[in-house]
Amino acid sequence: MSVEVEVNETDLAEMVEQVWESYLDPEGVSPLIQTYDENQPSEVHSSVSITGSWSGHVVFASSRVAAQRAAAAFLAMEAEEVSEEDISDTLGELANIVGGNVKAMLPSGAQLSLPQVMLAPETSTRYPNATRISGVYGIWEGEPVSISMWHSSADNKEEKGE
């Protein structure tokens, strides 16, 4: 069974704003400034997969510097103290939080995977038969950050009766 996804870019942007307010910019001094450039580069990324009533992925991608700053903000550390493990943990949790909130907006019956983290560009990961359907693309403290949703085309085939 497949359902029409009801999570649009405005919803995603609100979730991202909450994450920034809660963890990355609690003082409200360095928000994510949207560029709407879905082709902006990334050096690291994390993702969670959603299966069930809707199938797809939620992907957090950024430059390495942005990921390091995110980990520093998340863990209340200085950026130079941040380890690879800190970056990996933070990226995974960011994808998990946004993915969990996306899942909550989907019809019941959706399941969320544990996060996957790749300290490599988003383009290095292939999501078979998945299409990017929405995203928030922006600059945070001069560095690219994006959060995108990918819809698995296994659903598309069902929708088309294939």
């Binding site: 809660s22 863990l75 209340a76 943990d89 993915g99 909130n101 909550a104």
Partner: protein
Amino acid sequence: MTPMRAMVIDDSRAMRMILKRIVTKLNFEAVEAGDGKEAMDLLADMTEVPELALIDWNMPNMNGLEFVTKVRADPRLREMTLVMVTTESEQSQIVRALAAGAHEYVIKPFTEGAMIEKLALLGLVPTGANS
């Protein structure tokens, strides 16, 4: 006076660090576990049961709901205050957790202030601790 103890149960080390920072600020002594099973194992070895547990839902080995159910079934652990801290925000999931025995429910992302307010409502921190 012996400090109160809080168990922080989350498979994300980053989230454990955030929660640990908050409870430590509130003068709790924090104990960490990476999943429900590890938390149960730690509890089995403790002579004094922590007053509070902050529990993620989605974890490997034993998830948060299973942990809550096990704690509630154990008379030795019945005084623990259980707070789910999770991205699971559907109404049905909240109802399940509360029915299983969780006292409160905090949805990620949360601010430090919101978490402290919840704990204050449970009588675990002085009112106005986040002001």
